[in-house]
Amino acid sequence: MKQDAEYYQRDPNIHPVACTPSYKSSITRSPRFSLISLENSISEITGPVFSHSDIDPGDNDLLTNFAQSNESPIGQRIILHGHVLDENSRTIPNTLIEIWQANACGRYRHKNDTYLAPIDPNFGGCGRALTDGDGYFYFRTVMPGAYPWQNYVNSWRPAHIHVSVFGASFVQRLITQCYFEGDPLIPICPIVQTIPNPNAIEQLTARLDLNATIPFDAIAYKFDIILRGRRSTLFENRF
């Protein structure tokens, strides 16, 4: 019988390098020495486990999880859904996904965000969910607005939702950002452009999913998340 072994190494051709000068903040915050390559030990193949007792059922509904009763946030109502899979196409059940985003105006509910666009009193801007037995997840939220930031004098982030995923081990831990199909700011964003591979950017771009759209309610976008896969071996393996 085959046994699970090490995780596949990360592909450096799809991830940003540490220092990407057009994204200015990376210059002073990026290590200069190369990372030390470490084969998986028990410290890497394990990772935190979450359950339904860690979160509440409404945490994945950003339309209601901060709104006052009978009110809801301003903005385009959307559903963001997809599967979490590994590189072997195996679904990853019961894994924690957390998201955060600006409101429909492009303003974050964060004390350091001073953009002049208004806070929405009915929108918190964060949500979380566990994938089900098939690795499936969904959130309801509003389409975030474009967001101005200090990089060049006139820099605007494309509409994006930050996504954090755990997987089954600490080496699968991933934070990324979900963009939306057709956004003209994607190709000129210095943060998107830290990614060296156009296919990898496409994989971060959620696609309009009319089949999952709820008529007269919310437009759906599909966003699948792929985490590192795992080798299997016929031989006894010790980490």
């Binding site: 002073t28 915050r29 470490l38 486990v49 965000d113 934070i175």
Partner: protein, 206 residues
Amino acid sequence: MPQHLSYLKETTSQTAGPYVHIGLAPKAAGFEIYQKELGENIAGSKAEGEQIRVEGYIIDGTGTTLKDALIEVWQANAEGIYAHSEGGGEVEDGFRGWGRVITNFKTGKWGFNTIKPGSTLARNSGMQAPHINLWLVARGINIGLNTRIYFDDEVRANSIDPVLNLIEWENRRHTLMAKRSTDNDIPIYRFDIRLQGKDETVFFDV
């Protein structure tokens, strides 16, 4: 035409950005939205072993402390067992071994309380010295940085640790050593993370 490999490709990393707190540690950032904040308690109330505190700063290439970073912690219990199906056994009720901490918005200081982990199995044979795995994200960090905290009072275990010994540059190994002081109620280990410059911390490609 050779055959086609059907592997999917990992989703690409993007920076956690300046507002990571509202997503991952809202309560710590003064934003009350969830009933339960995740990652506040690493060891639980029933964990065996020595109670310790770990604290420090994260310092950028100009010498400035980061005030918008988030760290995740992953560690074994005092017996060297991780709370995971492949972690080597059972852990105490409530021991999770995982936690989150943010840098203080004004000072940049971070810190957490836990129990000191035990030695864990190494690959193939032998043991790894007690250590805590860290994963660091922030604005300006394109992909989360992995490092390890070792303990400077574990001299013998550290001397035979396979990961420390893997670091070719012996003069960089000290960047992974937390320094113990016992002037307080519980021992404090000081661990500063330097993203670049003199004494840049060793980071791992795991």
